[in-house]
């Protein structure tokens, strides 16, 4: 393993800003894994740290197959993590809206360009992603339909679900989209949480990545075969929305199987404590996403269901 600085800029009063990468093996650029890009992505950082620990051990045991280079970058944005801010400290820009970057541009464009230069030629790119709304997910692999996605490859992770979604205007500046444009097979991996560590889903993500790498003959790994992933389009997700705002109390967890008409959650008047809305399941399905903030706005998709039975 080699620890190296991928990108660095100086600062007036803080320690230098550094993006640090961990390189395993030699040979062709096979796999790059990126952890947190935003300051609140602690689970994404944690998952990477555990992956690095695991790869170190596997390297010592001779289980990394020769001829492949694996690069893991736990965080592209340590500056924001250290001050508990989601976006770039000075101008609040999102590095994940700056790819492929511009090395003569503004600060976050330069960071994106510097990092992208180091990671763009890998065959497979994996990013531990997060959602802008507070909530928990059933672990899944997500792919943008940018024209280069391969569902069959995504299923090799053995995660419960593979979710496909159409690109939107803002996607064109994300890491995942640009990886695909530069012909890297790119996957966003969602574990359960973002700002809190969830060891169980981090472990599943690591096993899934190692399973994928084993199937591609990049590592020796005899873990679980994983799930026979179900492939869904994000438009198939059924949103359960609040009509009113208030305190949100849920009766279910992500991954639970629910039946049509079953009570899923309640909204409670924040002053008088009365239940103002009962949310029920519109279909038989599985809880794929769930809001996890104690307050909710109105018109908010607090739960998303996948039709059918749990895997």
């Amino acid at each position: 393993m080699k620890k190296k600085t991928i990108y660095e800029i100086n600062s007036l009063y803080r320690d230098n800003f550094r993006v640090t990468g961990y390189e395993f093996g030699n040979g062709k650029k096979s796999v790059c894994v990126v952890g947190s890009i935003r300051g609140n992505e602690i689970q994404q950082l944690y998952t990477c740290s555990q992956l690095i620990r695991r790869l170190k051990r596997m390297e010592a045991e001779g289980k990394l197959i020769k001829g492949h280079k694996i690069l893991v970058i736990p965080s592209i944005n340590p500056y924001s993590m250290n001050i508990k801010k989601r976006f770039w400290p000075t101008d609040n820009t999102d590095i994940n809206r700056m790819f492929p970057g511009y090395h003569l541009g503004e600060t976050t464009q330069r960071i994106a360009a510097g990092v992208f230069e180091a990671i763009k030629d890998y065959e497979y790119g994996m990013q531990f992603a997060s959602f802008y709304m507070p909530g928990e997910f059933t672990p899944h692999v997500r792919m943008m339909k940018a024209g280069y996605e391969s569902v069959e490859l995504a299923r090799k992770f053995g995660m419960p679900y593979v979710v496909l979604r159409n690109t939107r205007p803002y996607d064109t500046t994300t890491l995942n989209y640009n990886w695909q444009i530069w012909e890297t097979r790119a996957f966003s991996i969602y574990t359960t949480t973002t700002a809190q560590v969830n060891k169980e889903s981090a472990g599943m993500a690591i096993r899934s990545i190692l399973t994928f790498l084993a199937k591609q003959d990049i590592v020796e790994y005899c873990g679980h075969e994983g799930y026979c992933s179900r492939v869904i389009e994000d438009t198939e997700l059924v949103a359960v929305r609040t009509k009113v705002a208030g305190i949100f109390e849920s009766d279910v967890k992500v991954g639970d199987e629910v039946t049509k008409g079953q009570q899923l959650a309640r909204v409670i008047d924040p002053y008088e404590g009365e239940v103002t809305e009962i949310l029920t399941a519109p279909i038989d399905g599985v809880v794929f996403f769930e809001h996890n903030d104690p307050l909710t706005y109105a018109d908010t998709a607090v739960i998303k269901l996948i039709a059918g039975e749990a895997l």
């Binding site: 800029i9 100086n10 600062s11 007036l12 009063y13 989601r86 976006f87 000075t90 101008d91 609040n92 809206r97 003569l104 541009g105 503004e106 600060t107 976050t108 464009q109 330069r110 802008y132 709304m133 939107r168 205007p169 803002y170 064109t172 500046t173 009113v244 705002a245 208030g246 305190i247 924040p270 002053y271 307050l295 909710t296 706005y297 109105a298 018109d299 908010t300 998709a301």
Partner: protein, 316 residues
């Protein structure tokens, strides 16, 4: 008449309302009345439009009999942002100007965006007033996506700004308010002027004069108006030089905004207050005029400190 364009309940004892002032003529007007919409406050830290809205309504009310069309003024598209000195939508950390056209059955933010678009749709012209951000000061200018330049440049020339900047199409900008409306055939001009968190009265009055002139040309206003200044129009990307900080430090300008500069002239310095050193001296790379200058002194490597319009792009 003040009307509510969209409203949504917040969790604890508060309703978020987006309001407009709908101003109609006092006298009968023959035929279909033209309508102009003035929109501002999509970014909660940009306040120049606040004074424009105030001054526009004040002047109309002073001579209301001269109004022969409809003026809709939307001063606060992002009321929670304005109230909390937040650029995006607080609670979501989302840039509201990346949510359009929104969706009536989407989340709260998308719902609000969609209601706004529906309300402004049908205007004969719309002006979306921005104030740069808290880092950069801009000379009064209109920015136009090249996709819509034929429709927009003739209108922009009436608005009494100093500069019209036609920029290339960019996929990300498809989610802006202006792009959504321009795509629906509502000519929408994006004004950038001044700086975030401040009001520059001279710029505001300059734009208000221009809005009255535009309203006059559309038949919405019958009162006297100014003859607008002739703006510099640039559509060539090579006309603009970007000046980015070469190192992190404190930027101190040496020149004034909108000043003609010779190649090699000092624009500013990046200094290190801890060691009393000059870290870099920023020189003008070309002959030109500085239409953007950094207001907020702290810079990181790469931070924009200014933009120059090259001398070749200036009128004789």
């Amino acid at each position: 008449m003040v009307k509510t364009v969209a409203s949504v309940g917040l969790p604890v004892d508060e309703v978020l309302e987006i309001k407009k002032n709908h101003i109609t003529p006092v006298n009968q007007v023959k035929g279909k009345k033209k309508r102009i919409s003035i929109v501002t406050g999509i970014h909660g830290d940009e306040l120049e439009g606040q004074y424009v809205c105030f001054e526009l309504i004040r002047r109309i009310e002073e001579e209301k009999e001269k109004l022969t069309g409809i003026v809709d003024v939307y001063p606060a598209m992002n009321p929670l942002g304005i109230d909390s000195i937040t650029r995006g939508i607080p609670g979501f950390d989302l840039d509201m100007n990346r949510l359009f056209p929104g969706s009536s059955d989407g989340d709260m933010t998308e719902y609000l965006a969609s209601e706004i678009v529906e309300d402004v749709a049908g205007s004969d012209v719309c002006i979306d007033i921005h104030a740069s951000n808290i880092y950069l000061t801009e000379i009064p200018q209109i920015r136009i996506n090249e996709l819509h330049k034929e429709m927009l440049v003739p209108l922009a020339e009436k608005l009494n700004v100093d500069f019209i900047w036609i920029h290339g199409a960019n996929t990300v900008l498809e989610a802006t308010f202006a792009h959504s409306l321009n795509s629906r055939g509502v000519p929408t001009l994006v004004v950038e002027m001044g700086v975030g968190m401040r009001i520059t009265k001279a710029y505001c009055n300059q734009l208000v004069d221009g809005i009255f002139h535009l309203m006059h040309s559309l038949g919405i206003w019958q009162g006297e108006t100014i003859t607008p200044r002739k703006p510099i129009v640039s559509g060539n990307p090579e006309d603009v030089s970007y000046l980015n900080a070469s190192t992190s430090g404190v930027f101190v300008p040496s020149v004034k905004h909108w000043e003609h500069l010779k190649k090699g002239e000092e624009i500013g310095r990046i200094i290190d207050p801890l060691r009393g050193k000059v870290l870099d001296t920023i020189l003008s790379p070309v002959d030109g005029i500085l239409f953007t200058i950094r207001e907020y002194p702290i810079v990181d490597e790469g931070s924009l400190v200014g933009r120059l319009l090259r001398a070749e792009a200036l009128p004789e």
